[in-house]
């Protein structure tokens, strides 16, 4: 197990200096968050596009539920943003926890308490993510057949 290996190799800097597999995993998950940031940015861009379409395109040419969908997408973007912030905060806390274990003062209770905290947070975040993911999948299904003219084309 990576954690066990890193604890054993702590004297070589696996935890404190981030040369171990745990640090590598933290880095991987930070990359995931950056990807989620990218998704969030794209959602904002699409919301902007929808906003322009509502403003400039004849309403008859737009899908009936475009405004309702826009609100839903906006809410989703906000929730995703909150999730990203929360996850990033937890990731930072986990990183601090692993660094704490490098301290000479760290004892067995620090290990077990930290593991409990990490797991509790992880379960909560996973449950939250599943909800977000389900919504994302639903939106994907709706948008698969969601067509409209682009504002620029309408302007021409």
């Amino acid at each position: 197990m990576d954690f066990e290996e890193d604890l054993a190799n702590d004297s070589e800097g696996a935890l404190l200096e981030g040369t171990g597999k745990v640090a590598s995993n933290l880095s991987d998950r930070e990359e995931i968050l950056q990807s989620l940031d990218s998704i969030h940015s794209q959602i904002n861009q699409e919301l902007n596009t929808i906003g322009q379409a509502i403003e400039h395109v004849d309403a008859e040419e737009l899908p009936n539920d475009i405004e309702e969908f826009s609100v839903g997408l906006s809410d989703y973007g906000a929730e995703l943003s909150q999730f990203i912030d929360e996850y990033r905060h937890n990731l930072s806390a986990q990183s601090e926890y692993f660094e704490t274990l490098s301290s000479e003062e760290a004892d067995f209770a620090d290990i077990t308490d930290g593991i409990e905290n990490v797991n509790e947070t992880h379960r909560a975040m996973n449950a939250h993510w599943y909800e977000l993911e389900d919504t994302l999948i639903s939106m994907q299904e709706i948008l698969a057949n969601f067509e409209m003219p682009t504002p620029q084309e309408e302007g021409e």
């Binding site: 197990m1 954690f3 991987d28 990807s35 699409e46 996973n126 948008l143 067509e147 003219p149 682009t150």
Partner: protein, 468 residues
């Protein structure tokens, strides 16, 4: 011109396969796998491509991210905890690099004049460990502890009067100290608190030897014994060896007439045998978890026959117990097998090599099936079973001891303990058989040792009894 809006555009390439779990494969490895999959797909036929696309689409619709089950823990407590996180008793004795080879010592021996004799014996041989009674066969705790547990205080006796001095001596010789804790055979506690034991007609039931057992279903009993183990760890013992981790022998034929609680197992759907195995196994698991912060290893003594089949009447499953300990110490003493009970061996006591060779093969097969097999460290017979019928026993001297050891080595088992109830061990035994044994890299024997010649006429009056 209309354009379809597809949210799938939000999903960044390579993102789907990434994982949020520390215990799972890294994103990099996943990415490599994904790239390989892509290459393979490109080389496949169109039909295969379509199938692959459909599969991929189905998977994508199900989940966008390969993250573990929401209820799955991200971290688990490592099996091996570095020493700096665990309790420091101040006693510095390392686990023997080439494996444990030990002897048993009663508390009276360890606390008396015999102790120096035993230390000298270990020092002068290739032995390196000593199993010492911390909770004995009656249930007495053999030294005064600092425990705040009233039961522990009440049942402690000052047999080992100077534990610190004993540990200093062991440390000086780097003799690995193992605390033997007899668990469910406990006449003292059973009679003090019959509700923790088995009663019959209002009285605490005792076996034909007059010993009472406490109830393995009772979590109070679990906690009591683990508290004893904690005290042993604080005294400097590096390993806790639990003995009598089972129901009384013959429990299956009298359980209907005994009164006892099944505790938390009472409402279980398990049958009575499964409950017993669960209780015994759960105790071992509980003890190991509770002792982790002490950094001690946990071992269990178990009947040799348990490796061949579960012993549901007494609640012992060799495999289940082995999954929850660092070391498993079976007791396959040649004298304990019945006439003809092992294939091709009529009188087991006369064939120490063959008995141990056969047993080792059976045990190895069981342990190989486990995800995390413990170290095997069997008890060996260093006593003469003269109580057996004439012609069925032999005197156990150096050749017989070495025959058992050779059988272990021949089966890649490099740890053992010697049992002699009176702590009188056979001199002149070559415990390494001339080999430079590396426990990790286990060098095999280069030359076959000459098998000891059985000599049924060389009888001994010594009549040892043993722990089980």
């Amino acid at each position: 011109m209309n354009r379809p809006w597809k949210l799938s555009a939000f999903v960044v390439a390579g993102f789907v396969a990434t994982t949020l779990s520390i215990t799972s494969v890294s994103a990099e490895e996943e990415a490599e796998d994904t790239e390989q999959d892509v290459e393979e797909t490109e080389e496949d036929s169109e039909e295969a491509d379509e199938d692959s696309d459909e599969d991929s689409e189905d998977e994508s619709e199900a989940r966008l991210f390969a993250i573990p089950d929401a209820e799955e823990d991200l971290l688990t407590l490592p099996r091996l905890i570095p020493d700096r996180f665990t309790y420091d008793s101040g006693v510095n004795i390392e686990y023997p690099e080439d494996g444990v080879r030990g002897i048993f010592s009663t508390a009276h021996s360890a606390g008396g004049q015999k102790f120096s004799e035993l230390v000298d014996f270990v020092d002068s041989t290739d032995l390196n460990a000593m199993v010492i009674d911390v909770k004995d066969d009656d249930g007495f705790i053999t030294f005064e502890t600092d425990s705040e547990d009233e039961r522990v205080q009440e049942n402690s006796r000052d047999v080992i009067t100077d534990v610190e001095g004993m540990m200093d001596t062991l440390e000086e010789s780097q003799i690995y100290p193992i605390a033997r804790v007899v668990v469910f055979k406990d006449t003292i506690l059973g009679k003090q608190e019959p509700e923790l034991s088995f009663t019959e007609g209002g009285n605490v039931w005792t076996n034909p030897g007059g010993s009472a057992f406490v109830n393995p279903f009772s979590e109070e009993v679990w906690e009591y014994n683990v508290e004893v183990a904690r005290q042993a760890a604080e005294a400097g013992f590096k390993e806790i060896q639990f003995d009598y981790v089972r129901f009384p022998e013959g429990f299956g034929s009298r359980d209907d007439s005994l009164n006892y609680t099944e505790g938390k197992y009472a409402d279980s759907d398990m049958d009575r045998y499964e409950k017993r195995i669960a209780a015994v196994t759960d105790f071992v698991e509980y003890a190991r978890e509770e002792l982790r912060e002490y950094g001690v290893k946990v071992s269990v003594d178990i009947f040799g026959v348990a490796a061949m089949y579960d012993e549901p009447n007494i609640g012992q499953s060799f495999a289940a117990i082995s999954e929850n300990v660092d070391v498993i110490s079976s007791m396959p003493y040649p004298s304990h097998w019945g006439e003809g009970s092992l294939p091709g061996i009529r009188y087991p006591d006369l064939e120490p090599y063959n008995v141990m060779d056969y047993y080792s093969q059976v045990e190895n097969e069981v342990l190989e099936e486990l995800d995390n097999p413990p170290v095997s460290r069997p008890w060996l017979q260093d006593f003469t079973a003269s109580y057996l019928p004439d012609g069925q026993w032999t005197s156990y001297d150096a050749p017989e001891i070495e025959a058992q050891i050779k059988a272990l080595y021949d089966n890649n088992i490099y740890e053992f303990l010697l049992w002699n109830a009176g702590n009188n061990y056979t001199p002149g035994v070559d415990y390494k058989l001339g080999l430079d044994i590396e426990i990790a890299g286990a060098e095999l024997m280069e030359d076959d040792e000459e098998m000891p010649e059985e000599d049924s006429e060389d009888e001994s009056d010594e009549d040892d009894s043993e722990d089980e």
